[in-house]
């Protein structure tokens, strides 16, 4: 059956430690240069080049040339979600003896990280919960959210680029994304990305280099309290 082969092929692509390290870095949703990815994976540039072209061939990554550099990013959010689901599985792999799941061992990552291009972890959940509890966001269908009229006002007041988010017409606007550490949905899609952008632009959060981990700044912690009525 053709799907069996396809399954093993795509899984095998993710199943190499060096490629998994690259994919993990790319889970921050940004594009990275080939040498950057090689450094992260701890391999030479020529080895990385082989891995990268194989992942492009397998439709996991997309490549874009810019000057002397070549930038690689995840091919789609579907890829990101498949990786998240595997990570969720890996996180629960703990035996009954040592109950501590893998992600528990990195509290910073659990606290706040990027999931592709939006916020995840405790902070992502806190933001999402605040939006739903204030009636700014309502569940719509099984995997989407509806931004209510008060929600639009709130976002505008916050400085979220709503027109920009709506412009990406091919993309889901407000999507539910399962958080693998909190095991509950957080806001993703174009709106989720726009909200995350706001956090970065206003200095509420900072990306850590070579990691999906995000640091919540002091002003970010205050903003969570004043704007969202949440404490983390």
């Amino acid at each position: 059956m053709i799907t069996v082969n396809a399954l093993s092929e795509v899984a095998a692509l993710m199943g190499d430690p060096a490629r998994a390290a690259m994919l993990s870095l790319l889970m921050d949703g940004r594009a990275h240069t080939a040498s950057d990815l090689a450094l992260t994976a701890g391999i030479t540039a020529q080895t990385a080049s082989g891995h990268l072209s194989r992942m492009v061939e397998g439709n996991l990554l997309a490549a874009r040339a810019q000057g002397r550099n070549r930038f690689y990013r995840l091919a789609s959010s579907d890829v990101a979600h498949a990786i998240e689901s595997l990570m969720a599985l890996a996180g629960t792999r703990a035996t009954p003896a040592s109950r501590t799941a893998a992600w528990r061992r990195d509290p910073d990552l659990r606290f706040c990280r990027t999931c592709y291009d939006h916020l995840a972890g405790q902070v992502g959940i806190a933001v999402t919960d605040s939006l739903t509890q204030h009636g700014y966001l309502e569940p719509k269908g099984p995997r989407d959210w509806k931004l209510t009229e008060p929600g639009e006002l709130f976002c505008e007041r916050l400085g979220v680029d709503l027109p920009g988010a709506r412009q990406a017409s091919s993309r889901h606007f407000a999507r539910q994304c399962l958080d693998w550490s909190e095991r509950r949905p957080h806001i993703s899609g174009a709106l989720g990305a726009a909200i995350a952008d706001t956090f970065f632009k206003r200095g509420w959060a900072e990306r850590l280099r070579r990691s999906r981990t995000v640091r919540l700044t002091d002003s970010g912690r205050r903003a969570l309290g004043s704007h969202f009525g949440a404490t983390v």
Copy 2:
């Protein structure tokens, strides 16, 4: 980082063609003997034994001895969902040139199949849609459903074993599961499994050997019309 290794390890387990073939068979939610799995994968028993113990070690499978036989099944529905998400990815891997996704090439599988232990494909979606449109099922939270009072009556009339489904207390009762061919949610969890059981027990559907494909019988087609008001 520990999560990176965990990711590559679990992906590598799924990334071998023989193991992927076994996992694919086990996606029917049932337990299969070691020799059965070996036959499916097209390898000898001793080779299969090695694969199986590695997958048990990696918490993908659970094993149960019974007499001379040894039965293997997926360790949890999380495993099934991770595999589904990879299959969804593999299905969209088609190049722009040949746009037909992989699952399109198996219309029977797309029409009706088991997803772990419940019905999926067009039939699964038809059942789910019917239940929601009649007000028997209401979305509850992002990933669950609520069975309404009329819904309970309907299920009892149908012969669904509701007490049995409720007994599995550790399990989600009515869960939303994303259908990778229809790209919409169908009913899973204990209730989804109980409904699927009803279909098999009443002779409305039959499992095909060595496959997740399910055949809808003539009486099943009529039942869909009379009980669910649906045509497929």
